[in-house]
């Protein structure tokens, strides 16, 4: 087990194995997006109350979910980098940050566009919306801190601590709708008891969530590879590889 992890954390091994995973993963992502979007935009029915506007759900919910899971993934990899001093973990955390930030922006914008026709307002300062906005600032802070410090190792260390401190915001976002009276409605999919979304609308949503997750994995691997090869540009294996390629 430990041997495997150490092997995986070696830059050269990671570079090779991720190169093999990327193409099939990319195709799976594309296929899921096509099926999910056709299901969401054409096959699923309009909502009994919201009509066609409900289709924003299929973009908004997966983005909002990913904005939180990206943050958890980023904080965990940053913590691994901080404790075990694994270079690859720092790189992955760095790779995830802009992806999570993009997901947060998508969730905020689609939510706002959805809010106008349904709630009657683009934005309210309720607990769910405010905590999601704080998440955006946490991502921004993480990226800013990384780029502000010249030395990559101390940059990784400082931003890892920021990521861990910000982790506290994740349960607040998740449970804000249960703890406080908010304008945002409570969770639909994870609700216990009777299902509160019809099966004809649930399947496109689940496929869209899977598509977002595969996309996240794909783009994270891709970004990590680029950053890895850049940071390792002076190592012998990269030099050898470049020589062989040219």
């Amino acid at each position: 087990m430990w041997k495997f992890i150490h092997k995986f954390a070696s830059p050269k091994y990671f570079y090779n194995i991720s190169g093999k995973i990327l193409p099939p993963l990319g195709w799976v992502t594309l296929a899921l997006f096509i099926v999910g979007l056709v299901g969401a935009l054409f096959l699923s029915p309009p909502d009994y109350q919201q009509g066609e506007s409900v289709r924003i759900l299929y973009i908004h919910v997966p983005a909002a979910m990913l904005s939180m899971s990206c943050y958890v993934a980023m904080a965990i990899t940053a913590a691994i980098g901080l404790i075990w001093r694994i270079k690859l973990a720092d790189i992955v955390a760095w790779a995830i940050a802009p992806i999570g930030m993009t997901m947060t922006i998508i969730a905020l914008i689609t939510g706002s566009v959805w809010g106008k026709p349904m709630w009657g307002t683009y934005w309210v300062w309720d607990a769910r919306l405010t905590s999601e906005l704080i998440l955006l600032f946490l991502y921004l802070g993480f990226i800013a801190l990384q780029t502000a410090i010249e030395d990559t190792r101390s940059a990784a260390r400082a931003s890892a601590i920021l990521a861990l401190v910000g982790l506290v915001n994740i349960p607040i976002i998740k449970y804000s709708v249960n703890w406080w009276n908010t304008l945002h409605q409570p969770a639909t999919i994870s609700k216990m008891g009777k299902p509160s979304i019809d099966a004809s609308m649930l399947w496109p949503l689940l496929i869209m969530i899977a598509a977002y997750m595969c996309y996240f994995a794909w783009i994270t691997l891709k970004r990590s590879r680029c950053e890895l090869i850049y940071r390792e540009r002076n190592s012998s294996w990269v030099k050898k590889m470049v020589k062989e390629a040219s």
């Binding site: 909502d47 919201q50 709630w119 009657g120």
Partner: protein, 143 residues
């Protein structure tokens, strides 16, 4: 103690500290983070009367009255235990109807009526096609 061990403990302390801070903050701000008050909370005197507040609940079935020739509407907001009269004059969101969850912002006047200057619709976490709702309504009338 190895340096790695030390860092692990440090991260652990950091996380526990943050968690405790968060729990304390959240419990301290519990009231202030409420986006709206329910009619029951207002009846129990939990909301301040003279300050602008928000009231949330369902528009009571059969309580909606429109004043002819104006935009003014009067209705009762209910949380199924208590209800509160609301008056409003302005544009309503599409989802506004009897039985719908709403959040109104405004003040309680001297007659004990909530004068709203903004009404937002709150939709629930249920999603279904219109036919499913028709079937549910049909089942309800049969009962």
């Amino acid at each position: 103690m190895t340096p790695r061990r030390k860092r692990m403990i440090l991260v652990g302390i950091l996380l526990t500290g943050m968690a405790i801070t968060a729990v304390l903050l959240i419990s301290a701000f519990k009231q202030n983070l409420l986006y709206f008050y329910t009619p029951t909370q207002i009846a129990n005197g939990e909301a301040s009367i003279d300050k602008g507040i928000r009231i949330g609940g369902l528009v009571k079935d059969g309580s909606l009255q429109r004043k002819e020739g104006t935009l003014e509407i009067n209705f009762l907001v209910t949380d199924e235990v208590n209800e509160f009269p609301v008056t409003y004059s302005g544009i309503l969101p599409d989802l506004f109807r009897e039985g719908q969850g709403i959040v109104a912002r405004g003040k309680i006047n001297s007659q004990g009526v909530f004068v709203a200057d903004e009404i937002l619709a709150k939709h629930d976490e249920n999603y279904m096609p219109p036919e499913a709702q028709d079937a549910l309504d049909a089942a309800k009338t049969l009962k």
